[in-house]
Symmetry: C2
């Protein structure tokens, strides 16, 4: 296993950080590494907002759960899918940027290709990270704080900092459960993969000292309610077309 | 710069491959490295289809452009956002998986976190890669070939193989153009960033011996027409709700 693959396997989501800040030169190095990822036809439709304003960070931390680590970690970023540059460019050339789901999807994919390199670059420097999907809890309120113009779509947050815990790795589905040759598996095969993983997951929670449950229990609970039903209307209010 | 960040900077999209195949053990190693990426609350809502059937590969290559490299490269994958496991699990527990844009978006994000590690893992082993957005040209026709069940949403292809070319790296926007502190920049600042990059991009195309153009020219051309207007209806036909 080479160093790059080793860095990937060393990933654990970190939820406790020391209060050391992340120096600007490390942030720039991770940004450039992020940008080196592929981008669809060079569109580069993403931005990262580094939130250093203490009041804004606390307000966002409160909206994310609350999740105090959003305020307390070494550096917090809001990762945005971003078609703003293309909108402004079109306006200055007296053209209309009129695109549908494809452009929104490309911006989310481009942002995420960037974000995964950005994250892994930080991890390879010894930092811990945690993606913050809770940012999407109430994007209307997040945007009252950030005042992002049309075309900028926050997708998740990212905490970075020096780890103040050493959690064990959360196991994954068997690789054979996600890698298929030519044909997608039938439902019975899927259920067998889920049942095998349920055992592994239960043992993991037990090792962590958490309440006994398996992956299916966790998933059924997670999807009990319709999650974040206002999401589409928020993105549309920011000028996205998702039709 | 450490080895992991060095691997990221070594990325170039490769469009010509030798005809050597990619051994199964390398594919499994990259799959496990991909799975080590973060996943939203452990949902792991993605799959990779390794297309080894020659006729299927040729038919998909034709639909992607045509792009013959899809057929000719060492290994070709269809990366899928995938809520199928969760749908089957819900059905077996007599529940309904009824989610909206959030679940679709999470599956695309999870698939892309996986895909970027998967891709970088291959690159760190010496392979070249190319994401194939052209897979979305006509997903209805792609799915006539792949016959994916409801809940499985192909998002892009990925070519992997031994490079048979050594292209120069395509430059990116300045890191300051995509990394912002607290406040999103105004339109004049954005335009200055675009104009600086236009110069860099023109020089890059010249160095490659391509027709002289800048980034703005390329982007205005790319977005001239509404791209892939049938995308939303395809995903909806596969059981996604994007509202």
């Amino acid at each position: 296993m080479n160093d790059t693959i080793h860095s990937m396997h060393a990933h654990r989501s970190i939820r406790r950080f020391t209060d050391e800040i992340v120096p600007r030169e490390h942030i720039l190095e991770a940004t450039k590494a992020g940008q080196a990822a592929a981008t669809s036809s060079a569109v580069q439709s993403y931005s990262a907002l580094h939130i250093t304003d203490n009041e804004k960070r606390q307000a966002i931390a409160d909206l994310c759960g609350p999740q105090q680590k959003v305020h307390d970690c070494g550096a917090f970023f809001v990762i945005c899918a971003d078609n703003r540059r293309h909108m402004v460019m079109h306006e200055r050339h007296a053209r209309t940027f009129d695109q549908r789901l494809e452009a929104f999807l490309v911006s989310v994919i481009d942002a995420t290709l960037f974000a995964q390199n950005f994250t892994l670059a930080f991890e390879s420097m010894g930092y811990g990270t945690c993606y913050i999907g809770g940012l999407r809890n109430d994007l209307h309120a997040v945007n009252d704080i950030l005042k992002l113009p049309d075309g900028v779509f926050p997708v998740y947050g990212l905490c970075v900092g020096h780890p103040n815990e050493q959690p064990i790795a959360r196991p994954r589905l068997a690789p054979e459960a996600i890698l298929h040759e030519n044909v997608y598996p039938d439902d019975d095969t899927i259920m067998r993969d889920i049942e095998s993983y349920d055992e592994v997951y239960r043992a993991y929670l037990q090792a962590r000292g958490a309440a006994p449950a398996n992956w299916s229990d966790a998933m059924l609970k997670r999807f009990e309610k319709v999650a974040r039903p206002a999401l589409a209307s928020f993105y549309e209010s920011q000028g996205a077309r998702i039709d």
